[in-house]
Symmetry: C2
Subunit: 205 residues, 2 copies
Amino acid sequence: VAPGTRDTLIDVAAGLLDEGGVGAVTLREVGRLAGVSHNAPYKHFANKEALLAAIAARELESQAAALTAAARERSPVAVLRAAMHRYLNWALEHPARFKLTFGAWSEGSDELAAAANAAQTVMIGMVATSQEAGVLPPGDPVRLASLLRALAHGAADLASTGHLRADGKGNADAGQLIDDLFAYLRSAASSGPPTRTGGRTRRAR
Amino acid sequence: VAPGTRDTLIDVAAGLLDEGGVGAVTLREVGRLAGVSHNAPYKHFANKEALLAAIAARELESQAAALTAAARERSPVAVLRAAMHRYLNWALEHPARFKLTFGAWSEGSDELAAAANAAQTVMIGMVATSQEAGVLPPGDPVRLASLLRALAHGAADLASTGHLRADGKGNADAGQLIDDLFAYLRSAASSGPPTRTGGRTRRAR
DNA sequence: ACCTGAACACCGTTCAAGT
DNA sequence: ACCTGAACACCGTTCAAGT
């Protein structure tokens, strides 16, 4: 099933993105490598930004698919941890795609929002299951899932741009940070009876 | 003391960056607003990227200065928490500067590395003091400081690009995530005797 | 030491056509 | 429905001068 010009354009653009960053993906070069004229892309995308958004959407969908596929494994915490490590590896192996995916689309394209929502819903479910198992502390699962996502994203972003090895000697590995967080959360989960309501954390809902 | 052309150029470029993003800062417009020719900037910066790096360096220095200034306050944890909230607010109020500051400079400019190092050294010191006070769990302070930094950065980046309110109803506030992390860490710190060496976390050093 | 004006190569986008 | 070629406005960068 011949890929179709549209998918070819996205493939070519993603390749240019990987090689030379977002600055290297130019509509003229995309058209040239795809074997069409330099403005044929305008028949498939409204403009350059729309082409870039299509790359981001494809990345996000692939990410969400990998997450749901991994959900049939061991314990939900193990799946969560593996998902965060996969997220980190994705950022390290394809830094330009990672930067692009979480870049421009503040006003953008329902595809992106849908894919992001799907992934997050799966994550929230796994967090809730882990809380019931007593291996994550109680509280609003949405909020706790956001905490996990924020750490994974921050570690991935800092690591992919080299901002995590700022000290002289030992470099803090991004993967360690993920494991450390889970260890702290597990420790916090078993520090007090899960049913108590007062104190250190406001309960949502 | 008249600002000097170089500083004027940086000011103008930062203004354009705030208004229209990195795409809006063009050497020609910078020159026009600064009252010089469209290529006078080349007498002060090697190229456009160098001008952008100068903005990033100024932001990072101001950030480091604010951190060291705040270090003369209450408890070190309070200072740490306040610093992370300030980091978050900076990202929300100046998203383009935030994105730029942690963007391109993988090979770059000693100013940036120096400013980043200074800020992190201060953070590590406060973490170590907090650990001795028993309000943060023991372990390598560099590693724990990286964890805090990664969460602050991830929450700030996701929040500044609107990726934290992906669910339908309640939006997870980025500031809450910071407070949550400190609560979990405090809970983990008091869950076991600080001196025990085995188990959940490998000790560094 | 700092600035200017012209010039070059390149890019995003548009438009009038072509099949 | 999809593609092409010419054209326009804009940008980063360079160069030969000017003071």
